[in-house]
Amino acid sequence: MPARNLIGLENGGWAVITSQLNRERLALMNPGIANLVYSKVLEHVHETRDGARLVDQPWVQMNMARIYAALKTLNLACRRQAWGIAQGTLTAAEASAIKILGYETFLSVFRQMLEVLGPDATLRRGSPGVPLEGMLDVLYRTVPVYGFAGGTNEVMRDMVAQMGLGLPRVKRA
């Protein structure tokens, strides 16, 4: 290997791996599964049981509003980045940004969905009476991994600050 452990240029492998990482970050934050669970929670809150619907409670409406607004934003941001890939213009700063936006969005929307489902929300998959086949229990436990996997979010923020905003570069020990 040596040749002083070349990273940039020669046959351009570094650019290939970094652009692959940009795409991976977008792929990790794909909102498809969150959209699916959202649609199920939306149905759930509209179901009438004992003459009442969850969605008629003000706090449930607030949670659902915040969930919708956050997911709508993430959906748009992901489409914007897919468009950027198609145009060949996606930057490392944008790809890092989507990873942080996606992680923060998932972290908060899954929590708010769990609240809406109430005390049954923490039942594990396979338990009788588990809502949404236990999907949310699995999802919320997965999300914290994405704060660091695929590049920890502090490093993502460093990249946004340096490449997106042009803040001074710093060598971190």
């Binding site: 607030m62 919708y68 607004a69 940004a97 042009g166």
Partner: protein, 356 residues
């Protein structure tokens, strides 16, 4: 889906930005603020001559043509420059006249020297009541009401709300000047049987409200973008004990979050602008955008002021104007929490509108 700006849109942004920036220097803004009426009449005339004030009005009625999307791109530039002009209320009031088919009034106000004020409030701050075609009562905090030509105002009529055009210069209208936190002129209006033209009912009022909200989101997007630009430049140069402030991870991470917030707001704001350009009603996404505009304005300006230290509050340095502009926009028409409640009501009543 195309997320880029077309060539003509880019040119429009450049033209609007350069005009707004040329006039909106800190020295000039300070003078206007000290004059007691933060309106730049010279800039207003220049914008009129360039056709910037009538974007969204069809050419056959004397407007510039183009649509709501373009009008919002111009509003982004107004936000970036914290310009002292009533582009939002005037532009959307004109569009509402066009929508209502009040074409004679539309033509008159396109050529008139001044501007139109508009409010969509139907909370306890609006006590206007219609009786036999005339309006009576008080409404507070109407943006750009002082010295305007006329106001678009909601008033109670029978069981619901209607929208009216009220000429400003009539004996039965009293205007008390109020000052917004961003130092923009606002007015408390007291009407005693004021002459008014009914433009439409609650439908038209909703149409106006959605556009005022979308426009304020566009302005907020510009405010936030420029505040981040100022802050980035500052922390890249400013040093604390020989170390550039922008190299501290606690500072740069906070600014990275501001960048992400700004990216999200621009996307949502342009998204609702393009929806409203194509359809009458986009209430769910308009409310979602307003929630974001309020939250993002609040978070980003707090971060920008914080990492500036004392300079962020120095009246000789431009940032503070962005902080107060962000707060003005955050609370304009409706707040994040109220917008969330409105969106929640839509989710309860019409889940089909919030499919993802």
């Amino acid at each position: 889906m195309d997320f880029g700006l077309q060539e003509t849109e880019r040119e429009l942004c450049d033209l609007a930005e350069s005009m707004l920036r040329d006039f909106s220097t800190p020295e000039r803004l300070l003078k206007l603020e000290e004059s007691g009426l933060r309106v730049d009449r010279e800039l207003w005339v220049a914008l009129k001559e360039a056709g910037i004030t009538t974007i969204g009005i069809d050419a056959e009625h004397g407007g510039t043509g183009l649509g709501f999307g373009e009008a919002c791109l111009v509003l982004e530039q107004a936000g970036r420059t914290v310009a002292a002009v009533p582009l939002l209320t005037h532009g959307i009031a004109l569009q509402t006249l066009q929508r209502a088919g009040a074409l004679e009034e539309l033509r008159r106000f396109i050529v008139a020297e001044g501007w139109l004020a508009a409010s969509a409030r139907t909370d306890r701050g609006n006590g206007l009541q219609e009786a036999s075609g005339r309006l009576t009562g008080t409404v507070s905090a109407v943006p750009y009401a002082p010295e305007s030509e006329a106001f678009l105002l909601p008033a109670r009529a029978g069981g619901g709300w209607n929208l009216y055009l009220v000429p400003a210069r009539q004996p039965s209208v009293r205007i008390e000047g109020q000052l917004g936190t961003d130092q923009s002129p606002m007015g408390q209006l007291t009407l005693e049987g004021a002459q008014a033209l009914k433009l439409g009912d609650a439908m038209l009022l909703g149409w106006l409200r959605q556009r005022l909200i979308a426009g304020s989101c566009a302005i907020q997007s510009g405010v936030v973008e420029e505040a981040i630009k100022l802050t980035t430049a500052y922390v890249s140069e400013h040093e604390a004990f020989g170390v550039k402030v922008g190299t501290f991870q606690a500072v740069s991470q906070r600014m990275a979050d501001a960048y992400i917030d700004s990216m999200a707001l621009q996307l949502m704001s342009r998204h609702v602008a393009s929806l409203l350009a194509a359809q009458n009603d986009a209430v769910a996404d308009v409310m979602a955008a307003k929630m974001l505009a309020g939250d993002v304005g609040h978070r980003v300006l707090a971060s920008c002021q914080h990492v500036h230290g004392g300079v962020g509050h120095d009246r000789g340095y431009p940032l503070w104007r962005y902080a107060v502009a962000a707060k003005q926009n955050e609370l304009a028409v409706t707040s994040s929490s109220e917008a969330a409640a409105a969106l929640g009501a839509v989710i309860a009543a019409q889940p089909a509108l919030v499919a993802l």
